[in-house]
């Protein structure tokens, strides 16, 4: 069985030194008209390059651009979709972290690629594959306020979001994206909606030909949906294992046809588990898994941590992968 070390999604965009604060400073300067968009982008580019190097130096096999160009998981996409405006701040699940909601004024439509340029830049500076993240249609619809009578329900809006995200996935796949991640944390809050949400996600998977697609769920226990998730079209299920032991029981009892993303290192707490204890958990279910490659990763985005602690987590992730390779082969 093969296992790789894979970043989850976001990475902290500020640190303690002036150098690590240059992006924060640039946003401040941009907001006050002291620098233009071009200069801001230049600093963003250099920050992406630095974060990718940080992940590669730590030994990761699949990296992200840290999503540092995203204001948050909702408004970055909503701001680029026709028919949606960016609205006020709302709490992102049970975190102490706020996102800007979408305000839907009209039929939502794809208005040109949202992420291809960002991906191309990251891929060009990375030596490892760069994973691209798409917020899933249900989560996006949940965090969108419908201010247009055309949409009678959240579900209708999610269906249109799914169509445009599928279009985006297709363009991303054509641009050479190898790893795509759909994030649907909302699914765990309302698992009863899985019967219509999962087919929407599958639409996106099908549009992303030749791309390995992960479905990431987090901030809840995915065990009650385990069997249904096994029936989807995604290649890998990236789970948040911090909400109870049942997910491991599911894998042990029923095995998995899908690759598993072991979201084990806590993205919301600074505490650092040892590589031994992490590896042990995966090893215990390794007989029930396919040859993979499976991933070891974080429970969620690392944007909830200070950067020095996130860096330690990256290193621990790579150590855990090394440990597993040693015991599994």
């Amino acid at each position: 069985m093969k296992i790789i070390a894979e970043n989850h999604s976001m990475y902290p965009r500020v640190g303690e030194s002036d150098h690590a604060q240059r992006l924060r400073q640039a946003h401040h300067d941009f907001d006050h008209g002291a620098i233009d968009a071009e200069k801001l982008k230049e600093i963003e580019d250099s920050y992406v390059e630095e974060l990718i190097k940080e992940q590669e130096d730590a030994g990761l096999d699949v990296v992200t651009d840290g999503m540092i160009r995203w204001y948050d998981h909702i408004s970055h996409l909503c701001g680029k979709i026709s028919g949606v405006e960016v609205g006020g701040l709302v709490r992102y699940f049970d975190t102490n972290y706020l996102v800007r909601e979408g305000i839907v004024r009209d039929r939502v439509e794809w208005d040109g690629s949202m992420l291809v340029d960002q991906y191309k830049f990251a891929a060009q500076v990375a030596s490892k594959p760069v994973k691209v993240i798409l917020t899933g249609p249900y989560t996006l619809a949940y965090f969108s306020e419908i201010d247009d009578s055309d949409y009678a329900s959240e579900r209708e809006l999610a269906e249109d979001y799914a169509d445009l995200l599928a279009r985006e996935a297709e363009v991303l796949a054509d641009s050479g994206v190898e790893y795509l991640q759909i994030e649907e944390p909302m699914l765990l809050q309302n698992p009863a909606n899985s019967s219509w949400v999962l087919p929407l996600n599958d639409k996106i998977v099908e549009a992303a030909a030749n791309t390995e697609v992960r479905l990431a769920t987090y901030f809840g226990d995915a065990a009650p949906l385990y069997d249904e998730l096994q029936e989807t079209a995604v290649d890998m299920l990236l789970f948040d294992f911090s909400y109870g032991p049942e997910l491991f029981d599911c894998i042990a009892d029923r095995g998995s046809d899908k690759r598993i993303g072991f979201g084990l290192l806590d993205g919301r707490n600074t505490k650092l588990a040892t590589a031994d204890e992490l590896a042990e958990k995966i090893e215990a279910v390794s007989d029930n898994l396919t040859d993979g490659p499976h991933s070891v990763s974080f429970t969620c985005s690392l944007d909830y941590l200070p950067r020095d602690r996130a860096r330690l987590k990256l290193e621990r992730l790579a150590e855990t992968r090394d440990k597993l390779q040693e015991v599994l082969n």
């Binding site: 902290p12 965009r13 500020v14 640190g15 303690e16 924060r24 946003h27 401040h28 907001d31 204001y71 948050d72 701040l89 709490r91 049970d94 102490n96 972290y97 706020l98 996102v99 800007r100 707490n269 600074t270 505490k271 650092l272 944007d303 909830y304 941590l305 200070p306 950067r307 020095d308 602690r309």
Partner: protein, 329 residues
């Protein structure tokens, strides 16, 4: 019940007692002084003197506007969680963490056993009470919120962390009571976020107040109250301070279905808006709650701490709140 408790404590309050949530804006000179102190250009003693001056300013204003229960305005505090973390043993003040957009804060990390060594807020409370002619509230951040707003590397679970905070905060409550404080506010803004942890909230707040001879208030804001009401009434305090201007008054509908059994500090001016409301608007809002909750249970206050407003905005909002209340007496 609460009326009797107030009488036993020797507190004789008027009809519709007028108070504020706790924090006031720091005057620009004090902000500058805090910056100089951080950079090592101003001594702690000099900074304290400036904070005392600002505290006297706010006490004078509460006197002039004829408030009934005063607060010290928290001119010497930064963030409401970090302030206590800095003054208890067992913490490391961690690196910067993003709260949204380009906004960051330092989130404390519990790295060792939490130990209360000596009174934290008592000197400031005594300073304010000696200066004031009316009762000054003791202001504490509650154990559940402290737990939720800190990283934990020491305790095995969220519950254990919250219990450790509760023991420390109980010591602070005892010290305040010993100094003569009769009204103590224990803020739990985080408690409406994870409704599945309401039992823990009740337990740890109980751990703080059990058998303590004071009148307890708890301020809770920006949550999904429909998910914790009426269950939250079992949190063992005498008075809940809640926001109403941002809630579209749906809370009152909840109270119609399940009567509000505690005293209620009714938040009647919006702290998130620069504009000062008209007296008529505030009075109409208060009249609405008087239709639903018995008058003898009602106190009047702003929605939340006023610290994010300018000094003049805060004073304007306090004045209109006081005028509207007096019209209804």
């Amino acid at each position: 019940m609460s009326q009797e408790k107030l009488e036993n404590l020797g507190l004789d309050l008027p009809d519709l007692p007028l108070t504020t949530v706790g924090s006031f804006p720091k005057p620009p000179e004090l902000k500058e002084a805090r910056k100089q102190n951080r950079e090592g250009d101003l001594s702690d003693d000099d900074l304290d003197e400036q904070a005392r001056e600002a505290t006297r300013f706010w006490l004078d204003k509460q006197y002039e506007l004829d408030y009934d229960i005063y607060v010290d305005g928290e001119q010497y505090r930064g963030d409401m969680a970090t302030y206590f973390a800095e003054n208890l043993q067992g913490f490391e003040i961690g690196g910067l963490v993003r709260s949204y957009g380009n906004r960051y804060y330092r989130k404390p990390i519990v790295v060792d056993e939490i130990v209360w060594e000596e009174p934290i807020t008592v000197d400031w409370w005594r300073f304010a009470q000696d200066y004031a002619d009316r009762p000054v509230k003791g202001m504490l951040t509650g154990p559940y919120t402290m737990m939720d707003w800190t990283f934990n590397e020491h305790y095995p679970s969220r519950a254990e962390t919250a219990r450790a905070f509760a023991a420390a905060i109980r010591s602070e409550v005892e010290a305040l009571i010993e100094a003569g404080c009769k009204i103590i506010q224990i803020d739990e803004p985080a408690c409406s976020v994870r409704h599945d942890e309401m039992e823990l909230v009740k337990e740890v707040v109980g751990q703080v107040v059990e058998g303590q001879d004071a009148y307890f208030i708890s301020h809770i804001c920006y949550g999904e109250f429909e998910k914790i009401y009426p269950d939250m009434l079992e949190i063992p305090v005498d008075n809940f301070d809640l926001e109403f201007t941002n809630s579209d008054l749906y809370l009152l509908d909840l109270f119609r279905d399940d009567p509000f059994t505690k005293d209620l500090s009714f938040g009647a001016v919006d702290v998130h808006n620069h504009r000062v409301e008209s007296r008529e608007v505030v009075r109409e809002l208060i009249e609405k709650v008087l239709d639903v909750v018995p008058r003898e249970q009602i106190w009047i206050s702003p929605d939340c701490g006023l610290k994010t407003r300018t000094v003049n905005e805060a004073l304007g909002k306090m004045e209109v709140l006081a005028e509207a209340t007096r019209e209804l007496r």
